[in-house]
Amino acid sequence: MADTVISLDKLKAFWNSQVHDEENWAHNMNGRFLVSAFLVPSDFHCHGIRPPEFSAILACSGNEQKLLRAAGLFAGSILLMRNYGDLMAI
């Protein structure tokens, strides 16, 4: 029980640091929030340090992000249709 409370406090602190901190919020709203929130630990944003393996993703321009999003949607939808499409039958 005590461990759960501690983890919740950490989550709240992370959320406040990302949303209520103006510098981090501006950085996140450039379309990298989803990548950074799930892949990068919180202190990387606080200290401005990014792991090199994610800099390629974070450095994508808007057009490349659109292309990745569209290609991912297309490929993912095909995988889902082929594997679980029968569930949509009536």
């Binding site: 569209a70 297309f74 499409g85």
Partner: protein
Amino acid sequence: MAGLVPPVTTTIPADASKTKKADEKTDYMNLPCPIPFEEIHREALMSLKPETFEGLRFDFTKGLNQKFSLSHSVSMGPTEIPSQSAETIKIPTSHYEFGANYIDPNLMLIGRVLTDGRLNARVKWDLTDNLTVKANAQLTNEPHMSHGMFNFDYKGKDYRSQFQIGNGALFGASYFQSVTPHLSLGGEVFWAGQHRKSGIGYAGRYETDKMVATGQVASTGMVALSYVQKVSEKVSLASDFMYNYMSKDVTASVGYDYILRQCRLRGKIDSNGCTTAFLEERLNMGLNFILSAEVR
């Protein structure tokens, strides 16, 4: 006294299936005729590109005899106009369209006249079982905005070819060949004399009972991929991917198509966050109800 029937030697079913498989593998002289090159994406287009509209639309078709009918169409609503900025500009418009249709097994004539003076005409004439002539024209009051085009389609045993001639010195040709019972490959070329532009494109289509996958690449920068999963006779799931490597514009969409006894429901979502739904319901004989919605 009943005697024992001597065993009858029969061919082992495995040999017959192997022979049948060998015949199917090597029977390249009896490949099916592919669909026309311009229709390779038709399953995906039918599922993912319904005729959405905003406002009010009313269509009425009156058949005068078995071949000839008249149609009246009224529509009122905002129309999107092209703009230089990224912002979408819509202006309210309304128009009435009068149409005449003549449909014969070998000849089809369709004409539409709008209140703003535009005339659309389409002709499809089956000269022989294999040769079809198609023509379509759009005439307007505005100078240099009228277009016309002739298509000559030839259907071979396992191939399709088409030749196009349009105004403005527009010439085009396409060829589509069945390579295997499921795979068809082809290409197209065009030359626009007025704009001094030419282009070439290649396409492939793989079709089975359960799915259709198509791909098309053109020198104009277009890359178009589509995949349709035929879940059942009533249900299809479709996905398409359009990319222009010249303008770096890309769109992918995923959708569904339910064809039921009394209605047809289609919906899709695309990579730009636009969600579309389209419902056509047959309320009574000759009376259809249509709902269209698009959220961006």
